[in-house]
Point group: C2
Chain length 404, copies 2
């Protein structure tokens, strides 16, 4: 059983459309447990502990908490910060000074690693603590969990965006038949793959999907675009920002500039500009592109209702795990077998999750490396929370020609 | 009074989220008038006449038409095509062969010009025709009309996107405090200006708005960003794709490449990359950016309900004008005086509209050239159709420090 004491929660890494649902789930659940006194928030993730910038979440109104469930980004602020060994000592000192016994950290791989190390530092110091990681990432690249809260909403945005820009592109006819969309995903193609969920009829966009798990040359993409134009008269392609070429090098020009974040991750980008230039050069055609970038993770108006609920439930499960005495674990989503989609929560030791990247498995991409399989659609479809809002299409009955 | 005969409708230029509402408005109204026999659609705008690719819109189901009211892009297909003098003779031949007496063309400046010339060509040929232009453009740059159908929905998208990415940027703190968004608008800043509608509290994003009507140097933008960071700790800027520098040259790199469309308009772009590089160089900071591009005009999920209705009504008004014998005119939106927003339709001669660009007037931009005025907000606010979906913010009550 958990010690009586205070709880702290933080948000880390890139925000999502539903990350505040996990925060609110934690607060709501914590309020149900007599063992938990103060419910504190750390400002800007772990730096809020290090700098003692804590806020009192019990003083927030019920209406604010409910409103946060439809509010994107990290309400507590977030951070990308590589915690040093010295920082971990400081963190345990602060936790101890505030009698914090439950540490909930909402984030991705790096945040799971931070939580793992906080647990280890507390153990070394002989400080009793329940450190629980709460999964979050639009990249969907965490191990063990079936999927990650945040992914379903980003996937719904991507599918909605591809369908909208696809209708636009088709209607342009010969005035603009090529559309590229660059989609988030540092190394994993889960989000780019989700573009397939825009497809309602077999010939619908996206016609081509490229993911980092499948190396591809620029010339192959251009050849695929050409073949698609010949077949459909237009071409809509979804390309991951993290694409790598046949040599394993970043395909996008911006990737080559090696802009790195605090964790040494290269900031990717420039894929669509690279392909646009190749199409201009090889096909003598203009390609248009969309780079929705941060809108993929922040446009709460298009959040998946399934994702929203799951993000809330992993927050609640984290507090229940802590109250049950769990430590050094991450909450997972566990899909139940059966024809209907159901998902519960589980628990995984953090050493199985921290710094592990879960990539799109081979059975989810097609042989040509330019699309995804029915198995992927089956996996991903339930996560976006129901069909997209219906679009209509004219039947287009021709008027008999009068040979003017 | 109009002659008894057939009606044809086409869509031209860039699609919008609500352009199909004008199409459906035309069909619904045409069905009410005994003078109108066939209701035809031209495929891909005027080329559908030239190539005799007409479809029978009376055979579309009521459900399809209703569904089109929530479907973006041009359901009949669209085109960017500069009509030649010889084409106009051909067009009148085809109109005559199909006994088309009402010609409705939904589009922007170039389409108004095409409609004007069709009217003139018919007159030269002694062919009785009612040629009516129906306004459409996300750029909002048509003369005479108070605003253009399509603009309100694009503005709602832009405001929603700036608010979402603004919340995201604020939450990133020092890990990513600069966000630029590139916004459509070839020469007119109406759409970039609409970013202001994201602002709910005085210090909210967008902190800076740049429009093509106000020349600005790269160094001035960088200085503005720096001042904004010093004041707010983060900076969200909305930049028109059509920005021009202090010499009147395109500010974006891609603009300098002079990619031109069939009308000789330079395709703009590259503004945010240019400013990103300048920030990197001068401030030694990384700027992030979003380029939602074609999503601004196609994401029907975020359409303005006001815009949706007005697009429908200008379609209906076009048919009524034709039935009343009007020719060589464009339907306009006429804002009624008074504290509450009301808008009716009017009629303007096409020579007043064709090829005229209506720019953001000086009283709508601030003295510094990096923002818009309250007068603009008053003008634009009603067009997006009510407030954005509410986002919540934590009150952030600090926990007293315990000096760990």
């Amino acid at each position: 059983m958990a010690l009586r004491g205070n709880l702290v929660v933080g948000q880390s890494g890139g925000p999502t459309a539903v990350i505040n649902n996990s925060l609110v789930g934690i607060i709501h659940e914590a309020m149900q447990h007599a063992e938990i006194d103060g419910i504190y928030g750390m400002m800007h993730g772990i730096t809020g502990i290090i700098n003692e910038q804590l806020i009192d979440l019990r003083r927030e109104s019920a209406a604010t908490l409910e409103g946060l469930r439809n509010t994107p980004a990290s309400a507590l602020g977030t951070i990308r910060y590589k915690v040093s060994e010295k920082d971990y000592e400081r963190i345990v000192e602060v936790l101890s000074a505030y009698n914090i016994r439950t540490f909930c950290y909402i984030g991705g791989n790096d945040s799971a690693d931070t939580t793992h190390k906080v647990a280890q530092a507390a153990e070394r110091a002989g400080y009793e603590l329940c450190a629980i990681a709460v999964p979050k990432t639009v990249d969907n690249d965490l191990a063990v969990t079936d999927h990650c809260p945040g992914y379903g909403s980003a996937a719904r945005f991507v599918a909605t965006a591809i369908r909208a820009t696809g209708f636009d592109t088709r209607s342009m006819g010969e005035s603009g038949p090529i559309k590229l969309m660059e989609i988030m995903g540092r190394n994993a193609g889960w989000l780019a793959a989700s573009a397939v969920l825009a497809r309602e009829e077999p010939d619908d966009p996206p016609h081509l999907i490229y993911v980092p798990e499948r190396r591809v040359s620029i010339s192959q993409i251009v050849a695929d675009v050409k073949a698609c134009l010949d077949r459909h008269g237009y071409c809509v392609a979804a390309l991951s920002e993290g694409l790598v070429d046949e040599n394993g090098d970043p395909l996008g020009a911006a990737g080559r500039e090696e802009v790195k974040d605090a964790f040494g991750h290269v900031r990717k980008g420039g894929v669509v500009e690279t392909i646009e230039a190749a199409i201009q050069s090889d096909l003598k055609m203009t390609a248009r592109y969309d780079k929705p970038n941060y809108l993929q993770r922040s446009m709460a108006e298009l959040m998946s209702p399934v994702d929203r609920e799951e993000a809330y439930e992993v927050g609640r499960a984290a507090v229940r795990a802590a109250v049950a005495g769990q430590n050094d674990v991450m909450i997972t989503l566990v899909r139940e077998p059966g024809p209907e989609y159901r998902c519960g929560t589980g628990i995984a030791p953090l050493h199985q999750v921290a710094n592990v990247e879960h990539m799109l498995p081979p059975e989810y991409t097609n042989d040509a490396g330019n699309g995804v399989t029915a198995a992927f659609v089956e996996y991903a479809r339930p996560l976006i929370g129901g069909p997209l809002a219906p679009y209509a299409r004219l039947a287009l009955h021709p008027v008999p020609k009068r040979q003017a």
